[in-house]
């Protein structure tokens, strides 16, 4: 039976192809995978003990039926683990623990949503976009990248073919808005009427600095925001306490696990 309980499974690579600076990998797993957008997997796929730890990757897509599932990841090569993943071929085995963590809370259908992805952070927010598309939710996308070539392919973007839905931003102005995605979000926020702001929720994933900036803009305008954080992880399922981030707890602060209480947190909680 398909289950949202985390499982440790052996997968087999179906496709692992480069798209600009990103790789997209589809993996066959023993059973259908159900997940909440924003949830992730711990992935390792190399022999030997160096690197030792699995790598956290957002679940980009998943599906399948009883006894035959698939899961997709989108990743960027940044170090040894992701470089090893990028070198894997069709048919190679992969070890995966999934689904993990606390995902986005998509809640009531009458809300408007802005989904913000900085860098490869889009891989975490697109599944939320896909879910909202299905429910015909009212959402817009803000995608930031250093330059034009580092934006995700248009066909991956949920609602990417609908006019006005997608706002591209580049630091060098080679596509869309010229400047950081956070600035674009803030400017648009300022253009909204109070009633529009009242309906809005922002979901975001990207570099910590970007998230901090947007969360300041959003919270100052009373717009609720959910942020998906990253941190180095050993286990990914809450047993090592390695991945904590400081959150407000009443007057004080406490360390919460990004892999368990997160990766998605209410932006108000975060001690940046």
């Amino acid at each position: 039976m398909p289950s949202k309980r985390p499982r440790f499974v052996g997968g087999k690579i179906l496709r692992n192809t480069g798209h600009g600076i990103f790789y997209r990998m589809e993996v066959a797993v023993p059973d259908r995978v159900e997940f909440v957008p924003g949830q992730f997997a711990m992935v390792s796929g190399w022999p030997g003990n160096d690197p030792l730890l699995p790598r956290p990757l957002a679940i980009f897509r998943a599906g399948g039926a009883r006894g035959t599932g698939t899961v997709e990841f989108v990743y960027k090569v940044v170090g040894r683990g992701t470089a090893l993943l990028s070198g894997l071929h069709e048919g190679d085995p992969l070890s995966i623990t999934l689904p993990l963590g606390h995902g986005f809370e998509l809640g009531a259908a009458d809300r408007a949503w802005w989904l913000v992805g900085g860098g490869v952070g889009f891989s975490t927010v697109f599944p939320a976009g896909a879910a909202l598309s299905e429910g015909r939710g009212d959402f817009e996308m803000f995608l930031g990248a250093r330059t034009r070539d580092q934006l995700p392919p248009r066909e991956w973007i949920p609602g990417g073919n609908l006019p006005g839905r997608v706002h591209l931003c580049t630091d060098d102005g080679t596509a869309g808005y010229f400047g950081p995605v956070g600035d674009a979000v803030r400017e648009r926020l300022d253009g909204l009427k109070a009633s529009e702001r009242g309906r809005l929720t922002i979901l975001a994933c990207g570099p910590r600095e970007m998230l901090r900036g947007i969360s300041e803009s959003a919270l100052a305008r009373d717009v609720p925001m959910q942020v998906s954080l990253e941190n180095h992880m050993a286990c990914g399922f809450g047993v090592c306490w390695g991945c904590v981030t400081a959150v407000r707890e009443g007057e004080k602060s406490a360390y919460r696990r990004v892999c368990k209480e997160g990766p998605v947190f209410d932006a108000r909680e975060i001690v940046w």
């Binding site: 180095h232 286990c235 390695g242 904590v244 400081a246």
Partner: protein, 309 residues
């Protein structure tokens, strides 16, 4: 007609504690045990050793807390934990319900705190043993003061020994010159068993940012990288004391576990391996059983301590 052979007997005894098999989860790598319920029935383990408990809840160290190293990792969690009261009230009953044999790993900033935690746990009928962490390298008061000299260790052990009737396991630090004499101090002070090794103190820096990678600067090294050091120390401890020795350090596979049992360990603990493979412990149990079947050994006890020279 061939009668199928009886499955091999994996039972071991750690002093007065009987365990159905020699595979235990190492403290700090297995949460409070319940987190593994989605993966398998934790009553299958020889025992579950929970995250180190202190008298009061402890916030732990600032992040960054972990760094990957070659075939290993450094951690400086700083013993973040819910404190002994919440453990007794909320976690212990659920572990009992799950049918798990469980052991509490404890630490204190002072000997008094160690005593108080041990005393509070002594009321738990289902608790199989107390493991005294005399060796956490990541909190200044976490026992390293007690754990790095035979004298400090025996003083601490004696006091905690007197404070509880539970079997007392003393977990040794590898950051010493002579592990055998540390094991003997624990034995002389009344420990029912010693477990080793805890992590080796290490450090990582970023040559570009010029900063330590851990907020705590140093951390504890664990994983396959340390296995040869752990195996040597376990072998030395086994030769130094008569009480049982529990082997820990870099165990990832049944073969690794068998190596520790071969040099004389009464049981083993699996730590870092749980992170990459949540099923590691049960795969190790199955692997030990398969090995005994293949080698036609009917009882693990026949194999244990059988190193030839």
């Amino acid at each position: 007609m061939v009668t199928p052979a009886a499955p091999p007997d994996l039972a071991v005894r750690v002093g007065t504690v009987s365990l159905k098999n020699p595979v235990l989860s190492a403290s700090g790598t297995f949460g409070y045990g319940l987190e593994f319920a989605p993966f398998y029935d934790i009553s299958r383990l020889g025992a579950v050793i929970v995250k180190g408990l202190s008298l009061l809840p402890s916030p732990g160290n600032a992040p960054q807390r972990i760094v990957e190293t070659a075939a290993g990792m450094l951690n400086a969690i700083g013993l973040q934990n819910i404190g002994v009261e919440r453990f007794v009230a909320e976690v212990a009953p659920r572990l009992e319900e799950a049918g798990a044999v469980f052991v509490a790993n404890i630490y204190g900033r002072t000997v008094d705190e160690y005593e108080a935690v041990a005393r509070r746990l002594s009321d738990l009928p289902a608790l199989a043993a107390i493991e005294l962490n005399a060796s956490c390298p990541n909190v200044k008061e976490g026992g390293i003061l007690f754990g790095s000299s035979p004298h400090g260790l025996s003083g601490l052990t004696r006091r905690v020994r007197a404070a509880t009737a539970k079997p007392l396991w003393v977990k040794l630090s590898p950051n010493v010159a002579d592990i055998g004499s540390m094991a003997r101090s624990a034995e002389d002070a009344g420990a029912d068993a010693v477990s080793l090794i805890n992590t080796i103190v290490g450090m990582a820096v970023d040559h570009k940012t010029r900063r330590p990678r851990l907020a705590n600067v140093t951390g504890g090294l664990s994983g396959p990288a340390i296995k040869p050091v752990a195996l040597r120390m376990v072998w030395e401890a086994c030769r130094a004391v008569k009480i049982p020795v529990i082997g820990i350090g870099g165990i990832q596979t049944a073969e690794d576990a068998l190596e520790f049992l071969l040099v004389g360990a009464a049981a083993v603990q699996v730590g870092t391996a749980n992170f990459r493979n949540p099923n590691a412990c049960v795969e190790i149990i199955d692997g030990i059983r398969d090995f005994l079947v293949r080698e036609k050994i009917s009882r693990l006890e026949e194999y244990r301590g059988g190193l030839l020279s």
